[in-house]
Every structure is written in structure tokens, then in C-alpha cells.
Symmetry: C2
Subunit: 244 residues, 2 copies
């Protein structure tokens, strides 16, 4: 699938460019453009920070101005931390990446702009954007840095387009116990505990048995768990029989 | 609303503890617990990095062991980057924070554990968790650091519980143009362009007028935009009348 390009406008610290590359590649994005980086290009600090994501820097497009960097794009997002006095749609990162996936699906070319560390994007850059992205941070403390903002947008891209299952169970070399296995486990415990005199007094025995069966059935047990619980009980019996 | 506690297990670098505090507070979370930090506690590097979020460090609970730190919790999540060979439910950060909001809503006390920078949580810690959180990163490049993992979980907490509108328009001191204002704009342009001989040849005039009206109606214009477009046209007429 095509992907959006992330455009860093006048980034200052090489470390932050490298960290942005890592953040992108963590979520499978590898198309970066850079406009007028303060310390020139290439930048050794960026390379050192990017480590495993250095390819993004090698392949990054370098541009003199924002207009050039956006020239081939049909929809441009700009990330901003505050209102700018320009009438413009404002969306969450979630909605932005949902829109991006839809637009790319119908052949559009999308850019997401990120401003320089200290001051963010200038209004001249903002005016070039179709839509603003505003991360819904704590209004009392909004201190996202460049790479964190890139990270959240890249994360949302993958969340909108990836195939991550919201919920699964890691089964460590086993599978869920079947009903018959659970039944046999319940019987094993019930009969041994009966022998051991656990179901006492007698008028409560039926209720206790029911509760014990219910306990087993509430447990999401694997075959390995069931084997372990059989083993626990057998060992208690062996211990008792050894009489030590 | 109550919130989950984020528990840093044996964190190594003070800077990362400070960055984790900032990441939490960016999304309105301020209950941190710390288990056995490598460089002792308090940690000046953590304080320096936390800056505006230093209160979280002052108020953080310090514990000798994981069991103590989790003692009062009813549900524990553990963040992991890789499979651990322990049978356990695994969820995305999104699902984890949705579950957390539900559980807190019914009075449960939730913790989210984060492991040390280098190796992540040990299996002894993982075994104490009810549920694992796995960030769906690029399988070819999974290099999230501690503060980034905290950031994504905190972001998802706010996304699940906050009131951020997915989409809104920042209206800079104006409001949307009404239908009658759009109508008058269309008429103004149509009549002046008629005078100017724009709708030519005559057999195409009706179609051109329709297309022009349709163009206006596709534009999401504010009252300020409409005034500007009236002004543009008036100025062109004045310029023509000056005859220079």
C-alpha cells in the first residue's frame, strides 16, 4: 500500500531528525522529506540517532522550501500544538490517519508536515495545509517533542491500516482444554477430595461440589494447565501415601 | 475519574524516568510507581528531564519489589515487546486502555507495568500480570524506548476517556456563510461577469453559469471569505473603471 510522506520543516537538532526516522520506521513508514534543516545535510548526529532506521535518512528528499516539498501532494496535513487564527479543519491524529488511508486508497498523495522544535510551523506553512492535526494533550501540560508527535501519527497510521488483533491469547506451545478434559479434571478432584473428607458436613457436600465444578469451569485452562492440576493432586496423594 | 497507575520496574536511566513522567502528564496521568531504580532515588537526572512534570516524581511511590508495588491492584497489565512462552491474553494498547476505563468504571484498581530499558520485564514480573500489552510495531524494526511505550499507553488512555472531537473546524473570529450570503455572492459574480462578456459563446452561457454556481456551493466559505471574494470582484471593476 502507498503511504503518506512525513515532511520535517526546518528541523533544528540532528538527533530529533534521527529520532523521527526511528519513530516512523517503528510503524512501517519510510518516506521522509526534509525542508531546510538548520545544521545542513547530511547530518551525522541524525545518522547516529537513527541507527536501524538510517535508510530513511539516505532516501529522504531534501528541499529548500515548503512549497517545493509539497508540490506533488494532493492533500496536506499540518501538525500544530495551538490555534493559529486561520480558518481550517482540525482533526485528531486518529481521524487524520483514517482520512489518509481513505485518500491514498483512491489515489491521492498525502503529506504530513511537522514544524521545527522550538516554535512549530509558521503560519505561512500552515496556510499551505488543507487540514490541521492537533494531538489531544493535557491542556495544562502540552510538551510533545518532534519525534513524539511523529511517533503518535505513525502509530495511528499503522493502527488504521495494520492488521493487529485487538485481543488474542499467546498460547505457549499448548491449546485450550476441551470440555471432556475439564470434566475429567473435575471428577479427579471431586473423587480424591471425597476420599480425603473435604466435602463436610454432609448436608453442605452437594453445594461444595457444585461450587468446585463451577470454579473449574470459570478458569480458561489449557491442556498444559489441566495436566499440571492433575499432577498437583496426584503428588498430594503420593505424599500422603508415603506418610512422611 | 480514577486512573491507572504506571509502574516502572527497575528503570535504569534517570532521563528515561523523567521522560516517562512527561509522557504521562502530557495525557493527564499523574500516578507513577517505581520499583528498585538502578541509580537510587531521588534521581537528579530524572528531575531535570521531567521539568514541568516533576510533581509526578515527587509523588511517585517507591517500592523494593514488583509484588509490593502491585499489592493493592486488582488487574495488572505488562507491556512486552516479544512473546514470552507464558500463556496469557495479549492486547493492543487501544484495547488495554478501553479495558482499563471499563474496569476503573466498576471500581477496579489497575496497574500497567513497564520493564527496564535494556531487556524489558523478566518472566517473574510477567507472571504477575493478568494481561500483556503488545504495541503493534513493524516486525522488521521494533525499537520503542521506555518513554515512547509509556507515551503510547498514556495517549490511548486519553483517547479512550477524553472528549476530543475527531473533527472540528477552527473558525478564526468568523462563522460559516449562510445560504443567502452564498446566493448573493453567486449573483454578484454572475452579473459582473455577464457585463464583462465572460459567458461566451452564448449557447454555452447557461452551462457556464451552472458550473460557476456549483463551484461556489462546493466551497466551505466563511462570512469573512465571502466578504473577501466580493472585495476581489469590486476591486477588479474599480481597476477597469480607472482605465489605467
Amino acid at each position: 500500500m502507498s503511504q503518506p510522506v512525513f515532511v520535517l520543516i526546518r528541523p533544528q537538532m540532528g538527533e530529533n531528525i534521527g529520532a523521527a526516522a526511528r519513530a516512523m520506521w517503528n510503524f512501517g513508514l519510510d518516506r521522509m522529506r526534509i525542508v531546510d534543516p538548520r545544521d545542513g545535510w547530511p547530518n551525522q548526529r541524525a545518522v547516529a540517532m537513527a541507527s536501524g532506521a538510517g535508510r530513511l535518512l539516505d532516501e529522504a528528499g531534501l528541499f529548500d522550501g515548503t512549497a517545493d516539498a509539497l508540490g506533488d501532494r494532493t492533500h496536506v496535513f499540518a501538525t500544530t500544538a495551538r490555534a493559529r487564527g486561520l480558518t481550517k479543519p482540525v482533526v485528531t491524529p486518529e481521524r487524520a490517519m483514517e482520512m489518509t488511508a481513505e485518500m491514498i486508497g483512491r489515489g491521492e498523495k498525502v503529506a504530513v508536515m511537522f514544524g521545527p522544535e522550538r516554535a512549530g510551523l509558521e503560519n505561512d506553512d500552515i496556510a499551505r495545509a488543507n487540514t490541521l492535526i492537533n494531538v489531544p494533550v493535557n491542556p495544562d501540560f502540552a510538551s510533545l517533542n518532534l519525534a513524539q508527535c511523529v511517533l503518535l501519527c505513525a502509530y495511528e497510521w499503522r493502527r488504521q491500516t495494520g492488521d493487529a488483533q485487538a485481543e488474542r491469547v499467546e498460547l505457549a506451545g499448548t491449546e485450550w482444554a476441551s470440555n471432556i478434559e475439564m470434566e475429567k479434571l473435575a471428577e479427579h478432584y471431586e473423587s480424591r477430595l471425597d476420599e480425603a473428607g473435604f466435602f463436610f458436613p454432609e448436608h453442605k457436600a452437594e453445594g461444595m461440589k457444585l461450587n468446585l465444578r463451577n470454579l473449574w469451569s470459570r478458569m480458561p485452562l489449557t491442556r498444559a494447565d489441566v495436566q499440571m492440576l492433575h499432577g498437583v493432586l496426584r503428588q498430594m496423594v503420593r505424599w500422603k501415601e508415603r506418610g512422611d
